[in-house]
């Protein structure tokens, strides 16, 4: 039988390659989630191994043309199997655990029994945290566009020979610890910190208070502080993709548009903006998604009234020890984000995302 497979494989190498990759990935994920256990798991792992052997055999026996056709699957295999086992399988385990019940409060093993109560609790008890997560990250995303777009625009069109240097400056904050940056803001924004002091000096307190950015003369431990932190920490994720898309815009095109539309504003609106949308789209995903699941900013800059769903998941999983509930909340978060991404890409999507 195996020789038949090999013969078929030599004739249709790309089918063998793809088939072996998908089969091995699927089986490995199934073993990872313990869908297959005992002898079945052994059989599955044997098949995974055999698929690798088959690939090698075909590659050595086949012609250069066969080798060329099978090479991409061979190159993909190790990384993809890693993701199948440590990205895909965990999501299924998460789903199964979210439908499980702990037999007692301090039990280690949860019993899988299609228990949807965890989902009910996730929505009833943690509704405000979900709302805040999406509201804060949504506002932060809009702010990153407002701050990041002009900066990316100036670097791309007016940077000249300093383009790379300026781009480097945008990336540099990336290289200091996320936590420490957030702690830095916490100190700068604290009641006796530099920022509060300067605002007081310039008598701007009343203005910020009316704008809702200050609360009782303090900047920190407010919703505004959490949004501010999210905006800061994810800004580079917005600037870079916008820059990449703007960089591709041909300056001559803009000049031509100026001749056509006569004002630079309409040239910008009609030419530059549409061409930069893929960057804004990618940046939005790269900002909104991690921000919605973040808990560091709410932890260091927030108050008990600004906790986001990330804080709750962290608390239920790592402090309260209620793993099934935490899993349900995680899964809901992922589901909502997936739906958002699908709808969002329907409206603004491009294939340029990756």
């Amino acid at each position: 039988m195996s020789s038949a497979v090999v013969r078929w494989g030599v004739r249709r190498p790309e089918m063998l390659g793809l088939g072996a990759l998908l089969l091995a990935g699927g089986l490995l994920a199934a073993v990872g989630t313990r869908l297959l256990t005992g002898p079945l798991a052994v059989l599955a792992l044997g098949t995974v191994f055999a698929s690798i052997v088959a690939l090698v055999v075909v590659a050595t026996m086949g012609t250069p043309e066969t080798r060329r056709k099978i090479a991409p699957y061979g190159l993909l295999k190790p990384g993809m199997l890693w993701l199948a086992l440590f990205y895909l399988a965990p999501l299924f385990t998460l789903l199964r655990l979210s439908l499980s019940t702990l037999p007692s409060r301090f039990a280690v093993e949860a019993n899988f029994d299609w228990n949807f109560d965890n989902y009910v609790t996730a929505f009833t008890d943690f509704g405000p945290q979900f709302q805040r997560a999406f509201m804060y990250s949504g506002i932060a995303t809009i702010l990153t566009i407002a701050i990041g777009y002009p900066l990316a625009y100036v670097i791309a069109f007016r940077g000249g020979k300093f383009r790379n240097l300026l781009l480097g400056l945008v990336v540099i904050p990336f290289f200091t610890s996320y936590l420490i940056r957030t702690i830095a803001w916490r100190s700068i924004l604290s009641d006796n910190g530099i920022a509060t002091g300067m605002i007081g000096k310039f008598r701007l307190t009343w203005m910020l208070e009316t704008m809702g950015m200050m609360d009782n003369g303090r900047l920190i431990n407010t919703p505004a502080a959490v949004i501010f932190g999210l905006t800061y920490n994810f800004l580079p994720f917005m600037i870079l993709p916008i820059y990449v898309s703007l960089e591709k815009v041909d300056v001559r095109l803009v000049d031509a548009a100026k001749d056509l539309y006569s004002t630079s504003t309409s040239a910008f609106r009609k030419v530059v903006v549409p061409l930069s949308l893929p960057g804004v789209f990618a940046g939005t995903l790269l900002t909104f998604i991690p921000a919605a699941g973040d808990f560091v900013n709410a932890l260091y800059l927030g108050s008990p009234n600004t906790t986001m769903i990330g804080n709750s998941i962290q608390d239920q999983f790592l402090v309260q020890n209620n793993v099934p509930l935490a899993s349900a909340m995680s899964f809901v978060l992922m589901l909502i984000i997936t739906v958002f991404v699908i709808i969002y890409s329907r409206f603004f999507g491009t294939e340029d995302l990756a």
């Binding site: 280690v108 009641d191 006796n192 431990n221 009234n305 804080n311 608390d315 402090v319």
Partner: protein, 411 residues
């Protein structure tokens, strides 16, 4: 690396045992506390149980070794709360190093115990499956020690190898959390009351009601340790927390906290991490732990700790052996070592909590007479009468309390 400088992590508390404590004494005076000097209730008859040899008179020298200690060898791993033992610094040898020197035991001491619930969640997957964890000794607060005992996740202490356990304070023998006293020895005990920054409050604080004063809106904190936060509030509402058996009895305290949280009165729930905020005025007033305030008060004498009029909660952190702990004999040596009043006094002088060991007061008096008169460290009967320990809760009742509390802390 030309000069040996003080360890920067503990440095702030270094070489200032005296100064720090003087400051605190001053702060307490300002807070209107009386200082019933040598009349503290506990440990008046000294370290008779301990046959300590050379009482340490000057910091910087090794203040004596336990009898029969030397040469046992082996290793030991103790995981404790942060900043909970005197370190080696400025020429003074810390307790861990003195122990290593005296016994030849290779001791590993870490400070990764930050929160009871968090630590429980960390060890639960292992102990729950009957597998050992790395540390030989861990430091759960009494209620968690009680839970671990009930779950049968602890080994009995080798008390026959700990002669100094005889020095355990009478009021801590066979405690509610460990009725037979076979599983735990207290590490330190203390109180939760009100900590405040008098610069920020603009007045002295005496009552739990001040936590809910609208004047301090957004500048109030509370502990993430449910039994301390709910305990202090419940006592102010006239609830006896030492006899609680149902959730409804404590519900008024939860309601009061919920209301304060919803209105934005409470800025933050915190564990140990309120030093900074309290010192710089981000928090004006909070529920805090007695010993911690010493460290803050050194930087900022405006920071004070008071027993509220309605009373403070008392608690104990314990030393226990997680099931399957390997180095039991070495653990016994360690417990014996720190239950020697001479050694215990060194720890007390640094951490500023209430020692569970009899005879420490006399030893501390030799190191620092002011500290020996501090009612927060050596409380008198009147002070103790104004404190309550939280009742041990049945598993399902505890679950109700925890769920209600975590719903308020908002996480």
């Amino acid at each position: 690396m030309t000069t040996r400088r003080p360890n920067p992590f503990t440095g702030p508390r270094s070489a200032m045992t005296r100064r720090q404590l003087l400051m605190r004494a001053g702060a307490l005076g300002a807070a209107g506390m009386t200082l019933p000097a040598f009349l503290a209730a506990c440990g008046s008859d000294g370290g008779s149980g301990a046959s300590a040899t050379t009482p340490g008179t000057t910091p910087g020298t090794t203040p004596g070794t336990t009898p029969g200690g030397g040469g046992a060898g082996g290793s030991l791993f103790f995981e404790n709360w942060p900043s909970y033992i005197d370190p080696t610094e400025d020429g003074a040898t810390g307790t861990v190093d003195r122990f290593k020197e005296a016994t030849g035991i290779d001791m590993r001491y870490t400070e990764a115990y930050n929160d009871n619930n968090e630590y429980f969640a960390k060890i639960q997957p292992l102990l729950g499956r009957g597998e050992p964890i790395d540390p030989d000794i861990i430091a759960p607060t009494s209620w968690l020690a009680n839970r671990l005992i009930r779950l049968e996740w602890l080994d009995k202490l080798p008390l026959d190898q700990v002669p100094n356990a005889a020095n355990l304070r009478a009021d801590l023998q066979n405690p509610a959390w460990d009725p037979t006293g076979e599983y735990s020895l207290p590490w330190q005990t203390g109180f939760a009351g009100i900590a405040y920054n008098s610069d920020a409050t603009g007045r002295e604080i005496t009552s739990v009601d001040d936590l809910f004063d609208p004047e301090f809106a957004g500048k109030v904190g509370a502990l993430t340790e449910m039994r301390d936060t709910i305990g202090v509030i419940a006592m102010s509402l006239g609830i006896d927390i030492s006899t609680l058996t149902t959730f409804d009895e404590a519900k008024p305290a939860f309601d009061k906290l919920q209301e304060a949280k919803d209105s934005g009165q409470i800025r933050r729930f915190h564990g140990n991490d309120y030093f900074d905020d309290l010192s710089n005025g981000n928090l004006a007033i909070t529920i805090g732990w007695s010993g911690d305030v010493a460290a803050i008060a050194r930087d900022n004498p405006a920071v004070k700790f008071v027993f509220p009029e309605s009373g403070a909660t008392s608690w104990a952190d314990t030393m226990v052996l997680p099931k399957g702990a390997k180095n039991v004999a070495q653990a016994a040596e360690w417990m014996n070592f720190v239950y020697d009043p001479v050694q215990a006094a060194q720890i007390t002088a640094w951490v500023g909590y209430v020692s569970p060991v009899d005879g420490v007061q006399d030893e501390v008096a030799k190191l620092d007479p002011d500290l020996a008169n501090d009612p927060l460290v050596f409380p008198d009967d009147a002070t103790l009468a104004n404190t309550q320990g939280f009742a041990p809760l049945a598993e399902d009742v505890e679950a109700e309390y925890d769920a209600a509390f975590s719903a308020i802390t908002g996480a």
